[in-house]
Amino acid sequence: MRSINVEEVTQAIAKLCINACYYLSEDVYEALVKAKETEESPLGRDVIDQIVQNADIARNEDRPICQDTGMTVIFMEIGQDVHFEGGNLEDAVNAGVAKGYTEGYLRKSVVAEPLFDRKNTTNNTPAVLHTYIVPGDKVKIKVAPKGFGSENKSGLKMLVPADGVEGVKKVVLDVVKHAGMNPCPPTVIGVGIGGTMEKSAILAKKALLRSIKVRNPHPEYAKLEQELLEMVNKTGIGPQLGGTTTALAVNVEWYPTHIAGLPVAVNINCHATRHAEIEL
């Protein structure tokens, strides 16, 4: 048994919130620089150039890449031999979010209740927290602030087995076409296939945490990722004003599912595919 004070969790999360919002991850930055060469539309190349310049300014001046610093999604993999002391874990997580968003001059974008009052909580809490119990005595924390320009354009469809690969492709294409230029393309697209309704949505979110340089280890899914990317880049949406770089990558995650089902969730992320992680 290993003891971890929850204060350590608070400090780590505060830092991860700030880092994720200021510093564009290397994989996405490299893909943008490459897209500046491969994009066919001159105006599209100009947009990508501005996005690259923006990432440079954000990194050099410690500023948020985007004004929408998101709702804070946090994945925690908690070793089953860990004992948290010093307070309630969920409270400590939210204290970290409040600290990070306040000290990092990040925008507070969360309302306490969604339908009637919609009053801002003023510290970006609560986070959306996903916890997993895993073997060992370590704690892995992944922070992924999610902007809603892209979150609003995501979608989920409960397909049936007969719909197959073509059905999956159609769901992705429909979501991307409907999203159009709203989610600030070039985007990164997370696709979750299988499980149940909510499992597919979480898989799509998790897919966005994977480096866009890494393909799915399963060869058929890796091939599907490539085919989906080529497909969405034919929509013409491009980097907002038209072009051939609608998405930088499509990451697919899958899970076993029911004999009667084929759930497909598509979670769109803007180019600022923010994620930062640490192991305690």
Binding site: Q53, N54, Q67, G236
Partner: protein, 185 residues
Amino acid sequence: MAEKIRITTPLTEEAARKLKAGDSVLISGIIYSARDAAHKRMVETLDRGEKLPVDLTNQIVYYLGPTPAKPGNPIGSAGPTTAGRMDAYAPRIIEQGLQGMIGKGSRAPEVVESMKKHGAVYFAAVGGAAALIAKSVKKYEVLAYADLGPEAIAALTVEDFPAIVVIDSEGNNFYEEGQKPYRRI
């Protein structure tokens, strides 16, 4: 790229009607930030027969909720938000004399109709270029609805704010034009 057109606010209807979809512009002067919650309140104010807290005649509204300014800076990161969420309210505000809107993404047909009637234009700023765009903002002053935090109505003094006309006062849509040559599916 074609020569950029310099615009200084206030923007008259005559000047707005000259702008064409696809024109690149640099905006200077004062523009006003307002987004979801501020639009809802403005329309509720009009419904009660009251005046808007800010006179928007011949003005430009920027759909923006910035990050807080770090000490020594006029504003934090300040990119455009999705304009479509303001579609339910925009025609009412255009009727009040609003001449321009800056945001990102598509607009509803009702908004375009209202723009054609009143000679208003819709500009796009590059979505996600918030730290870069902030460089053109020299001053940020909250004017109304301060309780809404990042959603307050503020006056932004801008110099050479970069934008592109995506829907002009005749309803021409540059998004549509820009995508067509690259649509292969």
